[in-house]
Symmetry: C2
Subunit: 234 residues, 2 copies
């Protein structure tokens, strides 16, 4: 009667012989007590849970459960839950940076490169919304205790700044200050748009994707055009 009480086994030490496949990846591929490569498994499990339930509902115990180990096993690999999340966030920034440099490399310089860069940024945010939220502090209060995340973030910003610097160098001297202004403005614009899109603040725009896309395009194009004060004669 009621209270079916699943998970009565509480934790249930798995006895299955998990050998995977002659350890191309898992260095030990142990039998039952030692997991071949926890840490990687934890990161993977946490990554899946992240996009499924969002950073604020991730629990250390739940990722341990998903990885098939006891609730405190993760403490052998991460000092705290926040460190696990920091690992995810850091990897997220590195992936974002890859998207950015790939986009820059794939388009020849000019206004459209800036637009492409912005589109790539937005696409990343829309593809991994919860990861993106985590990267910017959702459910964590502050990354300042995790320098690695801050560094990865800085690296991803540098990709924006470099692209902007080259773009601006087309019309005179780069002027450090002007580059900073443009780069931070670009980052803020992309970040703001991403956040507003993710949390549904731009609900109407997202409903019909074509309209939403064109709106994004207009904003990005306008921004890119604004970088060169007098683009054409006229």
């Amino acid at each position: 009667m009621s209270s079916v009480n699943i998970n009565k086994a509480r934790w249930e030490p798995r006895l299955v012989t998990r050998k995977k496949d002659t350890g191309t990846l898992s260095p030990r591929s142990a039998g039952t007590y030692h997991h071949g490569d926890l840490k990687a498994a934890l990161v993977a499990a946490a990554g899946e849970m992240l996009e499924r339930e969002g950073p604020e509902s991730i629990s250390f115990r739940a990722v341990a459960r998903a990885a098939g180990v006891s609730p405190t096993a993760p403490y052998n690999h991460f000092p705290s839950k926040e460190d696990l999340l920091a690992t995810l966030a850091g990897a997220g920034f590195r992936e974002l940076e890859n998207c950015q440099v790939a986009t820059v490399a794939a388009t020849q310089s000019g206004q459209e490169r800036i637009v492409s860069l912005g589109l790539a940024y937005l696409r990343f945010a829309e593809t991994h919304p919860q990861l993106y939220r985590l990267m910017f502090g959702a459910g964590v209060a502050d990354w300042c205790a995790h320098p690695e995340v801050a560094e990865a973030k800085r690296a991803s910003f540098r990709a924006i700044r470099d692209a902007l610097a080259e773009q601006l160098s087309g019309v005179g001297d780069p002027a450090e200050e002007a580059v900073d202004t443009a780069a931070i403005a670009a980052w803020a614009l992309a970040h703001g748009l991403s956040m507003l899109l993710i949390d549904g603040s731009l609900g109407a725009a997202k409903d019909d994707p074509s309209h939403g896309k064109s709106l994004i395009m207009r904003i990005l194009t306008q921004f890119a055009a604004g970088l060169t004060p007098k683009p054409s004669t006229r």
Copy 2:
């Protein structure tokens, strides 16, 4: 060592006769069992805790403790913790909207009004960083279950949109679409800058405030100037 274990008294029903001062504010000013105006007290306590510890570390029980009532008393006024936070967020958006309309009213139309509006937005975010984070979903996953918050957010966006519409109407017909583009771009820019400032992503810029301020000014000015394609003759 360590683990001093304060709060051993667990809850400690206060018997102090709290009469405040002949209820100018509290309608009942009760003696001991019934709090004169919980709900207001809870909101106030939560508001203080918010800025002190951030939205993710706020606990329902802790605000009850701060208000001097039992851990479950708040449930008579808020269906859940999220509803308390939603109340704070809604109030935050209304206050932000007030700042915006006040700023618009206090400056005559033109580019500098747009700049002032942006500055007011950023000042609000910098003054109540944790409130601002909460308003945009930090520690809550999603506001879509709380329409009141979404509505308050929309109202605050409308203030931006209206200002932009008037600004654009100075150079021809407003063209709905163009207004949307500009308004959303403005919001995204302000929101992105606010977030980046709050979470320390722009660490360097914030270190010396004068440099930071001028950077913000340059960004906002450039944006405002970009609204009118050909500001001067030249």
